[in-house]
C-alpha cells in the first residue's frame, strides 16, 4: 500500500531501530500510519508557519533543515538522519524555512496540538509525561548539534570546517573497508557550502587540497574514502559529536520520566 514499503523492502515498521527516541512509537502506538510521510529527493516541507505546531522525526533517509534569506542566500541549519528531530520555527516565516530531502526520506509527523488528545495509548497523564520527556530529550540533542555547528561557523576556518564535516559524515554514514572508511554523500557541493557557510568553489578547492595531501580519495563525484579517519580527526580542535550513543538522553528520561512512571500507580 505505502510506496515506501515497496521501495525500501518493508523495512519501515516503526521499530525501535528506526525511531531510536521511541517518540514515534509513543505517538503511533507502534504501528506506522498516516503520520508517516515520504519525501523524494528535492521535496520540501515548510517549517515557517509562525509557530512550532509540528515536529518530525526522521525514520529513514537524510534531510536538510534550510533557512533562506530575503536576498536568496541560504543557510543549512542541520543535516539530519534517522532518529533526529526537526520542528517548526517561529521566525523565518517571511524569508522561508523548510526541510529539504537529500535522499528518499521517511518522516513521522507529530502535531503538537493533538498530542494531548485521548487518542494516544496509555492515558493522557502517564504517557503524556513520557511523550513530552522524550520530546525534550530529542530537542535537546538538536540544540546541542546546533550549538556545535555555531562554534564551527563562528570560529573554525574553511579547512577546519570541511575536515570536521567529513569526519562527522564519516561517523554517521561511513562503513569500514579495511583500514579505510567509505561513505557516499547524498548532496551537492553547493549543499555542503550552504551547510558550512562557505561557497561552492571553496569546498571544491579544499577537497582538492585534502586529496593532494592524501587525506581523502574521491572514487566518484559523491563517494569518499578516508584512509585514516582518526588522523583526520586529530587535525581538529573540537570533538566529533557521537551520534551512536543516546545514553545522555536516557539519563534525563530516567530522571524525570521513569520515577513518575513507578509512582504513577501508587498515586492514582
Amino acid at each position: 500500500m505505502n510506496s515506501y514499503d515497496i521501495s525500501l523492502g518493508g523495512k519501515l515498521e516503526c521499530s525501535e531501530a528506526m525511531c531510536k527516541s521511541r517518540l514515534c512509537q509513543l505517538v503511533t502506538g507502534g504501528s506506522p500510519d498516516k503520520r508517516h510521510k515520504v519525501l523524494q529527493r528535492g521535496d520540501r516541507l515548510s517549517l515557517g508557519d509562525g509557530a512550532c505546531r509540528k515536529v518530525w522525526i526522521i525514520l529513514y533517509g537524510m534531510a536538510a533543515i534550510c533557512f533562506g534569506l530575503a536576498d536568496g542566500r541560504r543557510q543549512i541549519l542541520g543535516l539530519e538522519t534517522s532518529g533526529h528531530i526537526m520542528c517548526g520555527m517561529n521566525n523565518g516565516g517571511q524569508n522561508g524555512s523548510w526541510i529539504e530531502a537529500l535522499t528518499e526520506t521517511v518522516l513521522c509527523e507529530m502535531d503538537l496540538a493533538s498530542l494531548g488528545s485521548p487518542a494516544y495509548p496509555g492515558g493522557p497523564c502517564r504517557d503524556g509525561q513520557r511523550l513530552v520527556s522524550e520530546l525534550f530529550s530529542v530537542i535537546h540533542q538538536r540544540l546541542e548539534a546546533c550549538s556545535a555547528h555555531l562554534v564551527t561557523l563562528g570560529r573554525l576556518d574553511s579547512t577546519e570546517r570541511v575536515t570536521l564535516f567529513l569526519a562527522d559524515m564519516a561517523n554517521r554514514l561511513g562503513r569500514p573497508v579495511g583500514q579505510s572508511t567509505y561513505l557516499e554523500l547524498p548532496m551537492t557541493r553547493e549543499d555542503i557550502a550552504d551547510y558550512l557557510g562557505l561557497n561552492t568553489e571553496t569546498i571544491s578547492r579544499i577537497f582538492s587540497r585534502l586529496k593532494k595531501n592524501r587525506l581523502v580519495q574521491f572514487p566518484s563525484r559523491s563517494a569518499i574514502t578516508i584512509p585514516d579517519l582518526k588522523a583526520l580527526e586529530r587535525r581538529l580542535p573540537v570533538d566529533i559529536p557521537d551520534f551512536s550513543s543516546t545514553s545522555h538522553v536516557s539519563s534525563f528520561l530516567t530522571a524525570v520520566s521513569a520515577p513518575s512512571f513507578s509512582r504513577d500507580g501508587a498515586h492514582s
Copy 2:
C-alpha cells in the same frame, strides 16, 4: 540574608514577572530558595560535565553561554537575559563550555535528576507533565535563538552581523528617549566579537563606520543611542527576534499540558 535581596532592593521573589516561563515557580513552589544562585560579573559556571543534568533559568541580569576551543579560541553561543534557559552540554567537556555572568546575575538552578522527586508540589504526575512541558517550551526558544544565530554567522557579513546585534540588543535592553533608543551594553568589544564570530578590531571599525554614517552614537564606552531603530532594522535581510512575546510557547503548552490537566481529575 541573601546578598541580592539587598543589592537589588528586594525585587527577587520568584514572581511571574521575573520568571516568565514559570518553570522556576513550578520547581520552587513560588518562593525563592537555595536553588537561586547569584553570580557577579565575570563569575563562571561550568556546563560541560558530560551530560545535561541541570538547567538554569535567568531571573535577573545577563549571561553569556561560552564555548572554548582547545587552542583558546572562544565562541559565545548566546547572550541570555531574564526568562531564558541554559542547560548542560554533552560535548564541550574537554574544551570547556560555561556560563559567564556579564552583569550581576541571578539564576534558578534546576537539577533534572531530582525533578521527579515527590518534593515538588502538586503531585508527581500532574505537575511533572506541566514541568516538562514548560521545559520543552523554553528549550525550544533556545533552539530558535541558536538557529537564528547560526544563519547570522553562516551567511551575514560583518556589517550585517553588527547591525543585527545592535538591533537585537536595542529590542532587548533599550528604552526609548524621544525618537531614539538608548541602551547600555554590559560587555566588552571582545565579548561582542566572540558572539559574532569576528575580532575586536573589526567590531571597533564597524562601530566607527556606523557612527560616521549617523546610524548610532556612543555617549560613553558602553552606552549606545540609536536615533532610528527602524532604519537600522531595514538594512537587514532577516527579522529581528521578538523576545517580548511568548505566545508561541503558550500555544504549545495549551496543546500538550492544559488538556491533560483538565482530564487529570477525571482520569484518577
